[in-house]
Symmetry: C2
Subunit: 348 residues, 2 copies
Amino acid sequence: MSNSLTIALDAMGGDAAPRIVVSGANIARERFPNVRFLMFGREAEIAPLLNKMEKLRDVTTVVHTDAMVRSEDKPSVALRSGRDSSMRLAINSVQDGNAAGIVSAGNTGALMAMSKFVLKTLPGVSRPAIASFFPTMRGETVMLDLGANVNCDAENLIDFAVMGSAFATSVLGLMSPTVGLLNVGSEEIKGHEALQGAATVLRGSEKFGRFHGFVEGDDIAKGTVDVVVTDGFTGNVALKTAEGTAKLINEFVRRTFRSSFLAGLGYLFARPALRKLRKRVDPRRYNGAIFLGLNGVVVKSHGGTDALGFANAIGVAVDMITHEIIEKMQGDFAALHREQPKAQAAIG
Amino acid sequence: MSNSLTIALDAMGGDAAPRIVVSGANIARERFPNVRFLMFGREAEIAPLLNKMEKLRDVTTVVHTDAMVRSEDKPSVALRSGRDSSMRLAINSVQDGNAAGIVSAGNTGALMAMSKFVLKTLPGVSRPAIASFFPTMRGETVMLDLGANVNCDAENLIDFAVMGSAFATSVLGLMSPTVGLLNVGSEEIKGHEALQGAATVLRGSEKFGRFHGFVEGDDIAKGTVDVVVTDGFTGNVALKTAEGTAKLINEFVRRTFRSSFLAGLGYLFARPALRKLRKRVDPRRYNGAIFLGLNGVVVKSHGGTDALGFANAIGVAVDMITHEIIEKMQGDFAALHREQPKAQAAIG
């Protein structure tokens, strides 16, 4: 028991909560035998599910609350009137030291607002960001911010570079990750002022990871850099554009195999390989948006995911805790802080 | 001859110019028997190519010039010192009425700067934009701006909606195209001020196409709307992210079919259908970025395209001329202008 690790789960967040939360925890339990769970939500709904999963029940403590944040609640409203919600109590348990991290498939804005309020931003971090990783030609790439901050200045982008590098180093295990700033390539267009300011600082230091320079939209899938840094507006559009394109081509391929008898026959032969491909680009594998820059591990699962996807989000939280990412970021921002006069001069 | 239509070609623009320009014109000639060409560039390089294509030579006039815009030239430099360049002379020929439109695979920034300087912006248009169309689940969608304007205010976005609708109506043949403003979906994030201002005006009028509201990145490939309006920074990132994702999945599928003997066998059966699919999503089919808002038809071909891609870019120019898009936009902006007091009030 001394080596165990406790994850707080918002059992009421997500389209099919609490069912997928409990089933997801059960899958995660098999993968991580040292993990225990604190589940927050309606006991009358959670207990019957747990009773069917004896091994999970043995490592789970349910904390009852009737209140929950709804997906349509505004973050400010959730923050004010959701003090007894399953989401809020789960975050509180991290702050109180009863859990090492929290996973929720609930309202993203509310989760960020509550996490910022309860756990606070790490010293030296201007703003937390939402990060995720993607399959690329070369492996996996981390991108941030994916939607926490619509408008970003140079300081925010530099902080994202530090946070993204810390994630790539500690969780993805990259020794010296490369960082790129997402920009447009046309000669005429020099990119926003914030991008130019951030590039100046990033070029001048190795505290921020190895700075590659500017990258363009197609560099994300190419895997040109390990960490793609952008503002939350552009990052959110890029993420969803990539998802939409992947679905479109998947649909085109599906229609192709149904378009003729021969194509259907070909599908039968290629099926095992195609299944392996589907597994590789399975969005559930990349489920788990990471809130970086907070004084605690917070992972947001997609609201519409299934048990396997939720288990993967738990896996991301376990990885972040095991690799001590918070401690790593604290060290990195302390180092950044010592360099700050120089950085400030370059931005100013 | 009375029904003929002349297209000016910048024979020296693009990675493999003038070869792909001449070969592309030859493919376009077969498709559009009433088209004639004015080719601008180095006669010593163009003539030998034309001599191999007799039918093309019969409908082509070569205007010799030694000067050309290089791909690395800054737009301002090209504008100042490129007065005798093949690109500039080709644009001049449209202004002089010797050609009905121009196609170039050269430097995008220079082409926009020169076109604005020579042809001027249409009355009432705040800024020209770069548009293109994309395959979607439902058919094809036009998106703009793809990179001409990094920062856009509400007025620019409204103008793009009018221009995009005019293109969808006249060239894609849609009776009443729907328009969406690209935004982020999170509840917390309300979107830039410019987006809110533009949405207010677009909601209040039907002069701008049928306004659907805000759309997200994945709506582009879904085909949720016929026209996606965004600023040039976001549009450029979205376009290149979609291209990169498509290439990545294509590569994954290719590797899948090579991963086992059975998969390879399956590929043989499915090959004709897969070839049809490849043709459908062939980037050459969507080659041709359209400069909208100028007082003349200007189409930018991808610099790295081949003859087939260049022929498609010529096809886009022919379509725009045949469907009298400039006249349509003049009418639309005159109508918008009459409504302007109302629009201005909503933005202000």
